[in-house]
Amino acid sequence: MISALVAGLAFQQIAQAPRLKETLPNGVYTYIERSPSPGRMSVVLAASLAGVEQTDETHGFIHLVEHLAARGRLKDIDRRLESVGMMLTATTTRDAMIFQIEGRTEHLALALDAIKDIASPAPEWTQEEIEAEMKTMREEFALLSSLDKFTSAAWSLAFADQGRSTFGSLTAMGTATPESLRKTHAEIFAASGLSIAIVGDLEVEGGLAQVRNRFESLPKSAARQVPIRSLNEEGKAGAVSSADGELRSTVIEGIDDVSGLAALQAAFALSAEFEGIEPVLTPSTWRGLISVRSSIPGAFSGFDSMSEEELASYFETGQTLAIAWLKQQMAEPSSRARLMAVLSWQNRALNPEVMNDRLIVVSQRQFINAMKKFQAEEAIVVKGGAQ
C-alpha cells in the first residue's frame, strides 16, 4: 500500500498561480502572485548585496545597517505594523538583506509603506544611536550558534575573503560613523538591487500598481553584477574549537543549476540515512555552498567508504525529500514570497514549476557524483572540538 502511494505522490506538480513579474524603469523588480490563503498576504523586500563590497575595514556595516534601517525613519515601523496585527522580520544572508511583513491583505498599503520607509534614503543616524546598537550587536555576537561558526568557517575555506561571515567584525563595526553607514545604506538600497515580492490573496495587477506608486520614483541605478566567488583551492579542511561535530560542504553553482539540485538531493539523502545529520543551505542561484552538519562526532564515518553502488541506493530517498522540501517552501505565502523575492530577482526565468521540473530530471549519475562530493576526499570539511 505504502510503496504504491509513494510512487504517485512523489511527482505531483506544483500548480501555477496567477502571477506577474515586472522590472520598473528604475530597475526595481517585482514578483506578485496570488495564492489561495484567504485574506492573508506576505510582502518581502529583498535588497541584493551584489556589488556591496565588504572589506576588513567595513565588514559588518551591512549587518549594522539592517538593525538600524528596520526601525524606519521615525523608528516607529514596528509599532505601526503591530497595531494592526502585522509583524516585520529582518535578516541578512550573504546575497541579500531581507525584510518580511505578514498580515491581512487589507493592510497591504501599510506594509508597502513600511518597506518603502526602509528602502528610502537613510535618516540621520547619530553616533550615539550607532554605539547603542553596538551594545546589542555584542550580545548578538555572543549568541552565535555553533552552526553559525561552522558555516562561517566553511565559507572562508571555500572563498577566502569573498566568503566573509554575514555577522561581520565587531572591531570593524566599532569604527562605523553616520556617514559611512549612510553610504552603505545607499549602496544596498539602490533601485537596481531591490526585489519586492508579494504572495497572497490579492489581485496581482492591483498589487503591482501599489508597488509602482511607491517605488517608481526611486532614482535609477546601475545594474548589479553577480558576485564572483573565486574558489580557494587550498581550502579543504578547517576547525571550530568551541563546538562538537562536523560540517561538510560542497560548492554549487546555484540552486537552479544541476550541481545545486543534485547536491540538495544528496544532502537530504544523507540526513535521512545517517543519524544526526541535517542539511544546511540558503537558497540562491549564485555560486555558494550546500552543507550537511552533524553535532555527533563520527557521524560520517560509515559514509566515507561507501561505493557508488551503495550511494546509488539513496537516490529515491534524496529525490523524494528534496521535492518535499520544495513543496514545503512553496506551500505557504511567507516562505514562497521569501524564496521568490531572492531567486526570481537573481534569475528572472525561474518559477516554482521550473524548479520542480529540474529536481525531477536530476539523474542517478548526477546524484552519485553529488554524494561523492560530500565524502571526505572531496568535501570541504570543518571539524569541531580542540585540534
Partner: protein, 402 residues
C-alpha cells in the same frame, strides 16, 4: 479557516484507544496527524533521562519501518515527520497529502505503539543528548541535568509502555478527511497491548538542575505557576503574557533590549507543560567579570513598564493577540515545544488541539482561547502581569566569565 470549523470538531472517545479529535477542513491541502502524550508521574532522575531520549527512540525505527522509510513515506506532505519533547510532554506529527490519511495513520500508529527500541538506538540517543551541546538559551529552557549514563533500555521500554497506553494518547487529525472514515480507521488500530510497572528508578533522587553554563552567558528567568484554563483570571494572564512578550512593541523587547540594552534575546512566553501553560520571562546576556546582578532590575523595569500601560496599549495588545488567534502568521507567545511560538497553519492547529486535549481534557481552539481573553480590561491586565512578575519563581544561571 480551521478555527472557524472547530465548531464541527468531532471528538471520538475510543474505549481502549486514543482520544481522537477530528478537525475536517475540505479546503486544506494536507492531512496532519498529531499526537500528544504526557508523562504519567513526576519523574525522578533516571526517569527524566529516559523521557528525554524517547522522542529520538520513537523516530529512529519502528517494528514496521526503518528510519529512512519513516522519513520518506512520512514526508509526502512536504514536512518530515517529527517527534520532540519537553520535560513532561512528547509531541509527534506527520503531514500527508490530501489522500494520504491512511498512510499517515499507519505510520503514526507504528511510531507510537511499536518503536523498535534497540540498544544501539539508545546508545545513539544518549550520545546525541550528551554531545549536542545546547546553547545557553536551550540549556536554560530545560535546565534539568538528567543522568543519561545511568539509564537502561528496559527503563526506557517500561516508561514507553506506561506512558503510551492508547487511552493516554491524544490524537488530532486535521484536513480534507471524512470524519466517519477517520473514526472507523482508528477503531481498527491501536490494539497493541502495552504493560509495565514503574521501575525502581522511581526511588531515585530528583534530577539535578544546571548550576552554571559552561559558556560565558548568563540567563535570567521569572517563572509563574501553570495557568489552569478554568480558573478565574486565566484570560487576563494569557493576555498579560502577550503584552509582556508579543512582538517588538512588547515590554521585554522595548525595555530589556531597546531601552536598557541588556540583551539581544529576551522573551516572555507560555511554555507547554503537563500541568498547563507556564508563564516564563527570560533574558540572556554575556557573562562578564564585572557583571551586575540584573534579576531584580529586570523585574523592576518590567513592572514600571506594566504600570505605564494605557488603553492604547491594551488595544494594541489585543489586536496583536487576536491576529495570532485568527491564524495570522505573527509570532504569538504560546509555545508547544522548545522551537518557539506556535504559528499559523494546519500543523500548528494539530499541535494546539492535541496538546490541549491531552493536558486540559478538552480541545482549546484559538477561538476559544481568544474568547477567554477578549473582555480583559486594563486593570485586570496590569494586575495579572504584575502578579506573574512578582510571585513567580526566579532563576539566574551564571556562565563562565570571559
Amino acid at each position: 479557516m480551521i478555527s472557524a470549523l472547530v465548531a464541527f470538531a468531532l471528538i471520538a472517545p475510543q474505549p481502549a484507544g486514543p482520544k481522537l479529535t477530528i478537525l475536517p477542513d475540505p479546503n486544506a491541502k494536507q492531512v496532519v496527524l498529531t499526537a500528544a502524550v504526557t508523562i504519567p508521574f513526576e519523574p525522578k532522575a533516571r526517569e527524566a533521562a529516559a523521557w528525554r531520549v524517547l522522542p529520538y527512540m520513537l523516530m529512529r525505527e519502528s517494528k514496521e519501518f526503518t528510519r529512512s522509510q519513516l522519513l520518506m513515506y512520512g514526508s509526502q506532505g512536504g514536512y518530515q515527520p517529527v517527534a520532540y519533547g519537553t520535560g513532561d510532554l512528547i509531541m509527534v506529527q506527520i503531514v500527508m497529502p490530501p489522500d494520504g490519511f491512511e498512510v499517515g495513520g499507519e505510520l503514526i500508529e507504528s511510531i507510537l505503539m511499536r518503536p523498535a527500541m534497540r540498544l544501539e538506538h539508545l546508545t545513539e540517543a544518549i550520545k546525541a543528548a550528551g554531545s549536542d551541546k545546547k546553547d545557553a538559551w536551550g540549556e536554560a529552557l530545560d535546565p534539568i541535568r538528567p543522568p543519561y549514563e545511568k539509564i537502561s533500555l528496559n527503563l526506557v521500554k517500561d516508561l514507553h509502555a506506561l506512558s503510551f497506553a492508547p487511552q493516554r494518547i491524544s490524537l488530532t487529525v486535521t484536513g480534507p478527511v471524512e470524519a466517519n472514515a477517520v473514526t472507523e480507521y482508528f477503531s481498527t488500530v491501536f490494539k497493541t497491548q502495552l504493560s509495565a510497572r514503574r521501575s525502581p528508578a522511581q526511588f531515585d533522587l530528583e534530577a539535578p538542575e544546571l548550576q552554571f553554563h559552561d559558556v560565558p552567558m548568563r540567563t535570567y528567568e521569572v517563572q509563574g505557576d501553570p495557568i489552569k484554563m478554568t480558573e478565574a483570571g486565566s484570560g487576563a494572564k494569557l493576555l498579560a503574557m502577550h503584552g509582556l512578550g508579543a512582538g517588538k512593541s512588547s515590554s521585554v523587547y522595548r525595555i530589556l533590549r531597546e531601552k536598557n540594552r541588556w540583551s539581544y534575546r529576551q522573551e516572555a512566553f507560555l511554555w507547554p507543560s503537563a500541568q498547563g501553560w507556564t508563564p516564563r520571562i527570560m533574558m540572556i546576556r554575556q557573562e562578564t567579570e564585572a557583571d551586575e546582578e540584573l534579576l531584580l532590575p529586570m523585574i523592576d523595569s518590567l513592572l514600571v513598564d506594566v504600570e505605564s500601560w494605557t488603553e492604547s496599549d491594551l488595544a494594541r495588545i489585543k489586536t496583536l493577540a487576536k491576529a495570532w488567534f485568527d491564524g495570522q502568521p505573527v509570532d504569538g507567545v504560546i509555545w508547544i515545544g522548545a522551537q518557539g511560538p506556535l504559528g499559523g497553519g494546519a500543523r500548528q492547529e494539530g499541535l494546539l488541539s492535541a496538546y490541549t486535549q491531552s493536558v486540559f481534557g478538552s480541545v482549546w481552539s484559538r477561538e476559544r482561547l481568544w474568547q477567554m481573553m477578549r473582555d480583559t480590561n486594563l486593570d485586570d491586565l496590569k494586575s495579572a502581569a504584575k502578579q506573574i512578575l512578582t510571585t513567580g519563581k526566579t532563576r539566574m544561571i551564571p556562565g563562565q566569565a570571559r
